[in-house]
Amino acid sequence: MQNYLLSISIWTPIVLGLVLLCSNQTSQRFSRYFALSAGLISFGVTWPIAMRFDLQSQLFQFQEFFHWILPYRINYHLGVDGFSVPLILLTSFMTLLVIFSTQKSDIKNLPHYHAAFLIMSGLMIGVFCALDAILYYIFWEAMLIPMFLIIGIWGGPNRIYATIKFFLYTVLGSLLMLVAFIYLYLNTGSFSIFDFYQLPIALPAQILIFLSFFMAFAVKIPMWPVHTWLPDAHVEAPTAGSVILAAIMLKLGGYSFLRFAMPIAPDATWLLKPIIIALSLIAIVYIALIALVQKDMKKLIAYSSISHMGFVTLGIFMLSPLAVEGGYMQMISHGFISAALFFCVGIIYDQTHTRQIDQYGGVINSMPFFAAFAVFFAMANSGLPGTSGFVGEFMVIMGAMKEGFWIAFIAALTLLFGAAYSLWMVKRVFYGTPLNKTMESLKDIDSIQWLTLGSLAILILVVGLFPSIITDFTNVTVDSFIHLMNRSKLPIL
């Protein structure tokens, strides 16, 4: 049975976003409501994907197939498995949340701002659905444009440097990916992922293919040492931009590793696994140490993101079911927690116009509810059991013991360092007596912010207490992924 759930999920936000972009002349009120309903509709149309998804099936579901550019056998081919579905829902939900959270803000050109997020949401869902390499590549690159604009137009004072750095970093990586796609096309005569999965490739070529993919995805995640664009981009990005960047965009790298780099070049993956594990461990410890000494709150959270994403790569490259699933859980959880933390920074930044930690002190006195949320999110960020932050870290540490005691040990150091940077920031910003008059006159969160933070807090708790709602989607997919990875693709001589 053919249905168009995926196309609807991709194109609804894009079309609504374009409409919003053109409706410049309408009243402020109308365009706000329009954006909010667009977000709601876009979120609504992704629900059936989860509801009607067959949890037991190993196949890609809801596939859509149309010939597109026939001479090169490029097709409009969509389909989802257990790795895509939770991320699609995360994307549409986060987009709704950022539109909702900016309902009352006085950002200039708000309709365009909302439109950019809607269009980006559709493009990112496209990345999670595409089963054709060129289609995937187009979504992947197109998605940069709205983000580029969001940072470049609505960003902070140093936004030009940050956008160019962001753009060059990511484009440079993706160009090599395109080269790899073309190589695979020349050998298979198609751009279909399924053909790529079947193609036997000699080891040297596999390594080169893997490295080209690696450049693109490692930058996106980002892995050490190609991570320096992220703190700059976050610092300059507006709150909503940071939220989407951290919650969704970084996940594209992890997802693409699972979808492309690893199953296409499994032998190279096994060969290079120790190096990537080493890079992940460096990210976890080295970046955590750097996060500890940051003076800017957003930078601190950005570095904390990199450190947490180290768990993603560590998990998925250990290639055992528990660890891979743990890495995946970490992606979802980090989506909620980093988003929540960036929202928190945004909320006080809007009142004080500074992100410097030493400009704060005793915020809890004037904003008790906000402080309660912030402490909760900081705890989730340091992996408190019962929150989603714990699940992924726990699974990865458990899985790491299979690789060796010291790998697990270094990964477990995050228990200490994660708590150190998160709670030390909480202590300096929130606790104590009010530092100055500004701190005394802060206003506590309003109802919009209550709902935004509250919904994230509930999601963090639900996933932490019932992680099986995510792993139900991924269990079967992880099995088939491990199966793909354990099958050598070296040509039989």
Partner: protein, 659 residues
């Protein structure tokens, strides 16, 4: 209704109460806050008593609440293991918690964070019950971190106090160091057993007894590694040297939680865990030795620290540390039931001491310095009597509860054959002297002697005190829990020693390899009833040491007023103690600072300077410069291009002609 629903009521009633009060307490007022939470804990207490009744009549169960996660071949569940050990812990936790709830109504009555406080302590009760009722390591870890979270929130309850918010961060981080060990131990267990379920692991443990793993180039029994790692977790939670530094500072929190969390229940979680895991610990004498030695060092060194403290709460805090050391030694010498026994008696008399100290602090108008107190027995009779009972139980006076548990620990160390137990025995004996010493010093300074508060206040205000500034007895809401805790502090040891230690109460819950570890059998052989043991208690070495300690302590307080320069040895010893053996200094100036500085270094040198400036921007500059050079080539003059073409042609020809 199934049994699991009844047992679930124990943790979830306080949880629900906590959520309600946390969300709505501010709007519904104080009465709502304390009624709801006391109701919740009351339900938990009733369920706990019922559970104890069930298990005494032979009921045990291993129940699954729900499946938390399934991944690969692993299944993680949330569930309850109901046996005598669990039931006993449940009763202790809920009883002390109930007393503290009632006490708090009086103690915190004027605090703006009234309902927040009740919400926290009910949440704590929930987490602690999840910990002790767990049937697997995952839930243990959940409860473990949960109590840590509440401890963090409660130490920093008065968030304006700089010392409080420093102490809570420190407590959380030091505990996290231990948690690294715990997490790794759990990971090793999952790796070797393929499950985190207690029952399954205990059943399979013996068959894996011979397994070894490579560790730092040598082959070590997996159980030694696992047990020591898990114990490192216990060292954090139960504040054993060198991870003890957070507990004295935790006294910055309100006094009721010092009693509940930092004396009676949470800090004993580590002790409970090792007892719960006795089937694993019995397989590794190396780990047991390690535990014995750590415990003995803690017991003695922290007892010494108690002698020089001047803050009433810190004296009791160091006493707690020292007593936790006693329990740890009991675990190390395979006397798990004795450790739990001491845990129970200690929970009662230490909670009593803390709550009585809280009463003193209120009576003294929030002055905590014992040098400013004196002769309070005249003004606070109930507090005085109950404090005295607590102290008498603590130092181990025959027939009081502390006597039975401590005496058996010392005996168990004496008869043990584990490496390090003989040294531990002597250290515990000296510890008895220290306990008596600091207890009598504290008691006499506070309740007897001169009324020094008159003096200090007169100096401050320059005039005499009016009646309202006198110390006063606390209201009945505060003194009632004191009396209720004083009763078990006196009698619980006498009543329960026989069934708990020499009966079959713990038979199913605690496993001891009696062939290897014969000390408890030896003690049982000599034991002829609680009364006889009490009488014999007057003739033992510990009793003599205790009397000596009491006398020295009394002598110290009576000499306190006469200024005399102490000799060099005493003063240098005092210097070491005042530094707390230098642990804090080392951690803060060396470790914490070192970590911060290395972060600073990595950031400024590698991230900012090397990666960003040289690699990233450097590449950009390089491209810029290269394009500047290349730009020069495109001059637009035809003869330039023609010239380059000719050179190119020439070069190509040279290479091709060669071929």
């Amino acid at each position: 209704m199934q049994m699991i629903h009844i047992f679930s009521a124990a943790p979830f009633a306080p949880l629900l109460a906590s959520i309600f009060v946390g969300l709505f307490g501010k709007y519904f007022g104080k009465g709502f806050s304390h009624t709801t939470t006391i109701l919740g804990v009351g339900v938990a207490f009733i369920v706990a008593c019922y559970t104890l009744y069930l298990t005494i009549s032979g009921y045990t169960a291993n129940l699954v609440l729900y499946e938390w996660l399934r991944s690969g071949s692993y299944t993680f569940e949330v569930g309850f293991m109901i046996d005598n050990l669990t039931a006993l812990m449940m009763v202790v936790v809920t009883f002390v918690s109930l007393m503290v709830h009632i006490y708090t109504v009086g103690y915190m009555k004027d605090d703006p964070g009234y309902s927040r406080f009740f919400s926290y302590i009910s949440l704590f009760t929930f987490a602690m019950l999840m910990l002790v009722m767990s049937n697997n390591f995952l839930q243990l870890f959940f409860g473990w971190e949960g109590v840590g979270l509440v401890s963090y929130l409660l130490i920093g309850f008065w968030y304006k106090k700089p010392t409080a918010i420093h102490a809570n961060l420190k407590a959380f981080l030091v505990n996290r160091v231990g948690d690294i060990g715990l997490a790794l131990g759990i990971a090793l267990i999952l790796f070797w057993f393929g499950s985190l379920d207690y029952d399954l692991i205990f059943n399979r443990a013996a068959s894996l007894g011979g397994e070894h793993m490579m560790f730092g180039g040598t082959s070590v029994s997996i159980f030694s590694v696992i047990c020591i790692l898990l114990f490192i977790g216990a060292m954090g939670k139960s504040a054993q040297i060198p991870l003890h530094v957070w507990l004295p500072d935790s006294m910055e929190g309100p006094t009721p939680i010092s009693a509940l969390i930092h004396a009676a229940t949470m800090v004993t979680a580590g002790i409970f865990m090792v007892a719960r895991l006795s089937p694993l610990y019995e397989l590794s004498d190396t780990a047991l030795s390690f535990i014995t030695i750590i415990g003995a060092i803690t017991a003695l060194s922290m007892g010494l620290m108690g002698i020089i403290q001047n803050d009433i709460k810190r004296v009791i805090a160091y006493s707690t540390l020292s007593q936790l050391g006693y329990m740890t030694v009991a675990l190390g010498v395979s006397a798990y039931s004795v450790a739990i026994f001491h845990l129970m008696t200690h929970a009662f008399f230490k909670a009593l001491l803390f709550l009585a100290a809280g009463s003193v602090i209120i009576g003294m108008h929030h002055d905590q310095d014992i040098r400013n107190m004196g002769n309070l027995k005249k003004y606070m009779p109930v507090t005085w009597i109950t404090f005295l009972i607590g102290s008498v139980a603590l130092i181990g006076t025959p027939f009081f509860s502390g006597f039975y548990s401590k005496e058996i620990i010392i005996e168990a160390a004496k008869f043990s054959s584990i490496y390090g137990s003989s040294v531990a025995y002597w250290m515990l004996l000296i510890g008895v002297f220290c306990t008596a010493l600091y207890s009598s010093r504290l008691y006499f300074l506070v309740f007897h002697g001169q009324e020094k508060w008159r003096l200090s206040n007169t100096v401050k205000h320059g005039h005499g005190l009016n009646k309202s500034q006198y110390p006063h007895e606390s209201q009945s809401l505060i003194t009632t829990p004191l009396v209720l805790l004083a009763i078990p502090s006196v009698v619980i040891g006498f009543i329960t020693i026989e069934p708990l230690l020499f009966g079959d109460f713990f038979n199913r819950a605690i496993v001891i390899n009696h062939d290897l570890h014969q000390n408890l059998g030896e003690i049982q052989h000599h034991f002829s009833g609680a009364f006889a043991m009490g009488l014999h208690g007057f003739l033992t070495l510990p009793f003599a040491l205790m009397i000596l300690g009491l006398i020295v302590g009394w002598w110290m307080t009576s000499k306190a007023t006469t200024k005399k320069t102490p000799n060099k040895f005493i003063s240098s010893l005092k210097g070491i103690l005042e530094q707390g053996y230098g642990f804090d200094r080392f951690y803060e100036h060396f470790l914490a600072k070192g970590i911060r500085q290395s972060g600073e270094y990595l950031w400024s040198r590698i991230d900012v300077n090397f990666i960003d400036r040289i690699m990233v921007n450097g590449t950009a500059h390089l491209v810029g410069r290269a394009s500047k050079i290349l730009k020069g080539l495109q001059s637009g003059y035809i003869y330039h291009y023609a010239f380059i073409m000719i050179i190119g042609l020439f070069l190509i020809m040279t290479f091709f002609i060669k071929l």
